[in-house]
């Protein structure tokens, strides 16, 4: 039988040693007050140089990004007409694409196999939207909303085209698209009912309204009713729920909604009655 020896002297010696360390000077360097001296040969500093006129010396010619052996330089630049348009990022693993735009020549994107699988969409309306927004990545949300208006939903090919044109990363746009409830990837379905779940509305009975919708629409939050007519979603009323839980059908708010008329709304939507006649 393997008996464990009663923990003897070594444990107490270990503790004594550790306690003696308490009285030794600490090694941490308090960074903002005390700055460690950097050796003259330090190669860790990435500095963009300014010329004597005070403007940036770099003219985004990408020579450094191309020459970097480990391809760790990710650069973006604006051309003379100040459109954010040229971008050079590290190639991802093996077969990923990278936009070829050396020497500020608007090269064709190398065809990218991972996106071949999506159905082609007509990019004309999307190009108008992009031209209207001036290809500025800061306007990404406006572009996405107008694209949803034009196509009814956000096709992945459209997202890729926006990413290519404005230079914002695909994953960035995907992030923006998925973080707003009113933007969705699935092709448009009849109507969308959204119930607010903030604390105010829940106290005012939002939970019962949502339960009623779940039961009448036969689906949970985020799903589509069995006959495919209505999608149930949640939203946030931003504190403006005055007196009754905030319910929104296809974007317009419904005044004074309660659990009972949730049933009528659901039935009406399923029968595809236009919004006007609803209670």
């Amino acid at each position: 039988m393997r008996t464990d020896r009663i923990p003897g002297l070594a444990i107490i010696k270990g503790m004594a040693f550790a306690v003696r360390q308490v009285f030794r000077p600490n090694l941490t360097v308090r960074y903002p007050e005390v700055v460690n001296d950097i050796s003259p040969r330090h190669r860790g500093r990435l500095i963009l140089l300014y010329d004597e006129a005070g403007s940036l010396k770099c003219e985004t010619c990408f020579q450094c990004a191309q020459a970097c052996p480990v391809e760790c330089i990710d650069m973006g630049g604006a051309d003379t007409r100040n459109r954010y348009h040229v971008h050079w990022g590290a190639a991802e693993q093996y077969a990923e694409r990278r936009e070829e735009s050396a020497l500020r020549r608007s090269g064709r994107p190398v065809p990218d196999r991972t996106f071949d699988a999506f159905e082609r969409i007509d990019l004309a309306p999307l190009d108008e939207i992009l031209a209207a927004e001036g290809h500025r990545p800061r306007r990404a949300l406006a572009i996405l909303e107008q694209t949803q208006g034009a196509y009814g939903h956000l096709p992945v090919a459209a997202l890729q085209h926006i990413a290519h044109q404005t230079g914002a990363g695909y994953s960035e746009l995907y992030g923006i698209a998925t973080s707003y409830p009113h933007l969705h990837f699935e092709p448009a379905v009849g109507h969308i009912v959204r119930v607010c779940r903030c604390t105010g509305c829940t106290l005012l009975g939002g939970g019962r309204v949502l339960a009623a919708f779940r039961e009448h629409l036969g689906t949970d939050v985020g799903g589509v009713s069995p006959d495919g007519a209505v999608r149930l979603g949640t939203t946030d009323c931003g504190g403006s729920s005055s007196g009754s839980p905030y319910v929104e059908v296809d974007g317009e708010a419904l005044p004074k909604s309660s659990a009972e008329d949730a049933a009528t709304i659901a039935a009406a939507l399923r029968a595809n009655v236009p919004q006007g006649e609803m209670a």
Partner: protein, 218 residues
């Protein structure tokens, strides 16, 4: 570079494995190189490992190589008796269906090495209990380290081809038809339309073809 000092193990290897060798054993600097046909891999490796005065019991490395013409599997062994490596090259695997017997029955540790060679080159190791992809996702179709797997990203085309010539833009939807395939047949080798070798270029390292590979090609 250290010259191979002990001639003794060179002769010993020659007469011990003579029949399997395609080319007589050759001392390249600090390594003794044996080129064998894929079929005789188990016999040669067992001999190298179990022979009393060879005792190459440590498997230093196992890897696949795609020379553009044939596939190779290269084993490096070390024995406590002599400081030199022994490099066993199983050459002449066809590029469409590369097959070689596995050596996991001698070294269980070769399992992952063979899985990596399969994952990167598509070399089938018969007898390996667990031959599946080790690095790439399970549903990945291509074999990345093969020479015909050109990186779609043009920036990765090496500076080797001299000054980087301007890319003529392709019309949209076009894919570069015949990406430059570098083979061990040396720069300037003449390749047929689907990559089969017509003439060796200068400075080729293409190994003399294994006997059976030659008839199979003829």
């Amino acid at each position: 570079m250290r010259r191979t000092t002990d001639r003794r193990s060179l002769q010993h290897l020659d007469e011990r494995l003579g029949d399997h060798l395609v080319v007589p054993a050759e001392a390249m600097g600090d390594t003794i190189e044996l080129v064998i046909a894929p079929a005789s891999v188990p016999a040669v490796m067992r001999a190298l490992r179990e022979d009393g005065d060879l005792r190459y019991e440590l498997l230093a490395d196992i890897c696949g190589v795609d020379t553009g013409l044939t596939m190779q599997v290269v084993y490096h062994l070390w024995s406590p008796l002599s400081p030199d490596w022994v490099r066993v090259i199983a050459d002449g695997l066809s590029r469409d269906d590369p097959r070689v017997p596995s050596i996991t029955f001698l070294w269980p540790g070769a399992e992952w090495g063979e899985r990596e060679a399969y994952d990167m080159f598509g070399i089938e190791f018969e007898g390996n209990r667990d031959l599946r992809r080790i690095y790439m996702p399970p549903d990945y179709l291509a074999f990345p380290l093969r020479k015909d797997f050109a990186l779609a990203d043009d920036a990765s085309r090496g500076p080797g081809e001299g000054i980087r010539h301007m890319e003529t833009p392709l019309p949209p939807g076009e894919v570069r038809a015949n990406p430059v395939i570098r083979t061990s047949a040396g720069a300037g080798a003449v390749l047929g339309p689907d990559g089969e070798l017509l003439a060796l270029g200068a400075g080729s390292i293409a190994l003399p073809e294994a006997p059976d590979a030659a008839e199979e090609r003829a």
